[in-house]
Symmetry: C2
Subunit: 136 residues, 2 copies
């Protein structure tokens, strides 16, 4: 699916900033922060445009935001029907800072207090990725 197809499938205009952000996320196999997406071409779009575009893409559920334990935010494409799962699990390498989505391979059970209702579960696993384990 091309960037243009994704956008029109969600009734979004085919604009420069949207195409750029989706292009970068599509190329990447890790989640990216706003700055990581921007870095190659810092002056390409205004900061606010960038911010609003990410928000729009998130609202349309084309991408999802991942909040890490150090308070930073990364974004990734919704590649695997993320919308219908209650579990959002990600791995965060504490050395190279890469973040990747863990799809379908996680199990989680929690005994909540009486009468509590669970709606979504967000999991971030911190550790070392394969590359960083070897380079130690």
């Amino acid at each position: 699916m091309t960037v243009e197809e994704i956008l029109s499938a969600h009734d979004l205009k085919n604009t420069g900033c949207r195409k750029f952000i989706l292009g970068e996320l599509l190329k990447s196999n890790t989640a990216l922060s706003e700055n990581e997406i921007k870095d190659p071409f810092p002056e390409l779009f205004d900061r606010v445009t960038f911010y609003r575009t990410l928000k729009t893409l998130e609202e349309k559920e084309i991408i999802h935001r991942i909040v890490l334990n150090d308070n930073t935010v990364k974004y990734a494409l919704n590649r695997h029907h993320h919308d219908f799962e209650e579990m959002h699990a990600h791995f965060h390498c504490e050395k190279c800072d890469d973040v990747l989505c863990l799809n379908g391979k996680t199990k989680f059970e929690a005994e909540l207090p009486k009468d509590f209702i669970k709606r979504e579960v967000y999991v971030v696993i911190e550790g070392l990725c394969a590359g960083c384990v070897q380079s130690t």
Copy 2:
């Protein structure tokens, strides 16, 4: 254990801001944000002092910070030997915004990619607490 005992047990001076923050957290059965702690006495301590005190208490592992999916941060006392567990699970009520620690009643398994190493697991469950379920 009193606030003063906690502080001296960790080689920390018995200062006003520390006693105030620990006192508030001790009284509360939910995790509190910086503003929630401050609110009752907004002018009591400087913003920076507050910030640095929370950081110190966190470094000494007297309290722990909880990062929620909406990017806000809350703090809670380490009541149950938090230091030796790899799992940090919290419940966040999306209606009243209360956050509480889920201790020992959670199970989590993740199949990580080959050669990845897990160190810590952070879980935030979003949903409705008992009080908010009833008031619906």
